[in-house]
Subunit: 216 residues, 2 copies
């Protein structure tokens, strides 16, 4: 599944869902074609970078013309496996977890939170946003064919839950806790560390002031 196109840089791979979303928007707006320059303005990525990114998949566009929106869309849909839904489990139905359950990740997306877990008996039973909430003790019973988990438990619980997830066959974890969890080599973890994001934004503001405008 990967060897055919093994050379796609990680930086490119991370931008693909973004491209997909904006191409989708264009399609809904009824646009028939788009240039890398236009797309660049929409997604805020340099147009040369966009052309380079697309070129890893072959020649998707036409010189002098740009890209056909319909074609791009169907190409990216295939590439991002948009027709096949990936099952996701969420662990920790607290502030953040509840927000995710209410949000419909499916709108534009090939993923679906199918079940949630919590340790607090008060959270159980109710379907939050249409997703059933089970007790975390029953994790292993319900987690069948679930490839991805979203971790929104207290950071002290993160490592323990992670180990159970891995044993239960999960192979990707989106970790929102501040803990840096340890996993075997074949498991992929993406950390989204909101405090770090906020702090680093503040650091950049103080230490890397951007050009003041010359007025408009």
């Amino acid at each position: 599944m990967n060897n055919e196109q093994n050379k796609i840089p990680q930086a490119t791979a991370k931008r693909l869902p973004l491209y997909y979303r904006f191409i989708n928007n264009l399609h809904h707006q009824g646009k028939l074609r788009v240039s890398s320059k236009e797309l660049s303005e929409a997604v805020k990525v340099d147009s040369a970078t966009i052309r380079r990114d697309f070129s890893y998949f072959g020649a998707l566009g036409k010189k002098g013309y740009g890209y056909n929106v319909e074609y791009l869309l169907s190409f990216f849909r295939k590439t991002l496996d948009q027709d096949e839904v990936t099952k996701v489990a969420l662990i920790g139905v607290g502030n953040l977890g509840t927000a995710f359950l209410h949000y419909n990740f499916m709108k534009n997306n090939n993923t679906k939170i199918e079940m949630a877990f919590d340790a607090d008996p008060n959270k159980l039973g109710s379907d939050i946003g249409g997703v059933p909430v089970y007790h975390v003790d029953d994790l292993e019973d319900h987690l069948k064919n679930t490839a991805v988990a979203i971790l929104t438990v207290p950071s002290t619980e993160a490592q323990g839950i992670t180990e159970r997830l891995v044993d239960a066959g999960v192979s990707g974890i989106l970790n929102f806790t501040p803990a840096r969890i340890s996993v075997p080599d074949h498991i992929r973890v993406h950390h989204i560390d909101l405090s770090v994001e906020l702090q680093s934004l503040v650091y950049f503001l103080k230490h890397y002031p951007l050009e003041e405008e010359a007025g408009d």
Copy 2:
């Protein structure tokens, strides 16, 4: 404020809050010294990268010894301006916004959400997590000396609100909406795009399978 240490790579700057948090943990555990190797295991960053990162600030450690935890901590506290609190406003008290208000970003942090805004009259008045919620019509009246805003409004509102924030003097925006907002050059925007994060995790799982373990 920046010229003294102008050469710190962005990748390094993004890791600083992470280092700070873990050094803080070590301090609370009563550890007196730490090596780049130990720290590496905790934060999951290569030890050479850590030494390189630290070296941009001069010689913080001692050869053959490692780093003094107390010294590192006080150094990073200064560097990250932990003694000075940055005021933050949050716009959009919905699922995600409410979660952030309940979360105490201050725990380990130099930032504080001081006020929130929403367009829905039902959300007003109540202090969520101790933060007052005002009507978005009054944005300009309340936003004094607020450098940073967190955007958790519907994506259709993002650009309009952004323009008002910029006019009101905000210089950094943490954007959780899927919209790619346009800002003048002197404004810094960090995008946290949760759908993209989830989709790209799925993409990596399918296209970049990691080494299977040889068992243990």
